[in-house]
Assembly symmetry: C2
Homo-oligomer: 296 residues x 2
Amino acid sequence: MSDRRDDWLEEDQDGVLRVRYRVGKTLSSTRSDYQTVEIVESPGFGRMLVNDGTVMLSERDERIYHEMIAHVPLFVSPRPERVLVIGGGDGGTVREVLRHPSVMHCRLVEIDGEVVEACRKHIPQTAAALDDPRVEVTIQDGVDFVARTPERYDVVIVDSSDPVGPAVPLFGADFYSNVHRVLNDDGIVVSQAESPFYEPEAQRGLLRILCDRFQRVGIYNYSNLTYPGGLWSFSFACKGDLCPTGDFDDARVERAERTFHYYSAAVHRAAFALPAFQRDALADLLRPPKTARVRV
Amino acid sequence: MSDRRDDWLEEDQDGVLRVRYRVGKTLSSTRSDYQTVEIVESPGFGRMLVNDGTVMLSERDERIYHEMIAHVPLFVSPRPERVLVIGGGDGGTVREVLRHPSVMHCRLVEIDGEVVEACRKHIPQTAAALDDPRVEVTIQDGVDFVARTPERYDVVIVDSSDPVGPAVPLFGADFYSNVHRVLNDDGIVVSQAESPFYEPEAQRGLLRILCDRFQRVGIYNYSNLTYPGGLWSFSFACKGDLCPTGDFDDARVERAERTFHYYSAAVHRAAFALPAFQRDALADLLRPPKTARVRV
């Protein structure tokens, strides 16, 4: 839902708020089977990936999102070797996954090959990671992939866009039953979980699905520049009972910490301290009993 | 720097980002000696106070700002009885201060009487607090007030707008020398400290001034809806050596916690976990030696 006037790209939020980015040259513009895919230059935010008129990432702030979606599960997982990224065709999440030396294999399953192609050409800051020999890029619907694959993973990262259009099934129960199946015993799935300010019902819906399938369920926040409201969330779910703050070794982070832009051991722990209104809205979904309630 | 077109109020950030709020009726519009002061209705955010075209607060999210500017110092101060609020003519900070039963006296010093009048008429959600018998409202330049007053305070809260126009001296060294003087021995000053994303130099400037005068200096973050970038900061400085996380009794908070919208003991602690880029940008200013370096 965007409108391009003069040299401003405008995004609408619920009809009450609009965010406009000054933009310059359009580097790429295609219509894929799923959406319009554009790469535009902006003087304030660097190059931006814009799908169906919604800003997916900007060079200026993409590290925040990608560090927070990747390092929280990867620093909780005892020794992540195999990682599955669903969505995230820009490559930014994969880039952060590869910073963990234990990772031997990272598969990216992106539904829209045009996103991968456009980012490979114009946003090497994220997409260069896709050339790493540990990475395999699969252009396929992530829902189908997890339904059929015999592979098993230590961490699954659902790096999806908003629950409209092609991303709707990525917020669904069947998908998470299959994610549960492809995870190893202590496997972790982290997912893009929308805004606590603007989408509290989407957060409840996602956490309810996770609670029905996973032993440990939580949600954590990060702040970025280009999503409305600034504060957004990722869900965390573990097939076993790994606690995202309790089963977390600060020392592992601190050995690498100085090279992160946003993430740190302190930020990791703080991200799980929810604003009171969000904590209260989700309270019944955040403390599942220690005994597994898997019904998949 | 705003432009009103049709029924949208538009705010510009550095010429690269514009945030537009859908607005309805203008309830009040005056030109004071300092600025234009407007109260407008918006379908997404409730009533908004708009000074010189910049949104100061909205009914929808003002509690976040006001809880975080008030409760962090007031729950660290061992027994706050006398509180000085500079700026904050809307009354929201005073409202939160008054929730601490130890507070006997709260003085609000606001330079612009039109702000107080407009909020008293149209935003009782915040301004009703100004009628409390423990409150004294003084219409005066806060810089002059702290330079001349013989009064002493346990907590000073600098609830200022951005460092342009009348608020510029509130980011200055002379002002903080006088704030130091009016504080009791373990007194704390907390100040609106801009955005880590957009104003890192303003944050460094303010912390440098504080470091030269106060024994303990820190900065903490909160997320709101109506300031660009979402993530904004408050500075924390103590004349003594009270640590905002170490000298903080969770139990005091937890007795009242369920009534807060955003603040909690966990949020209090988490707010001091800075994003790595902000921590690194301010590192030399965040760990002053334990021995006082007061040079006022």
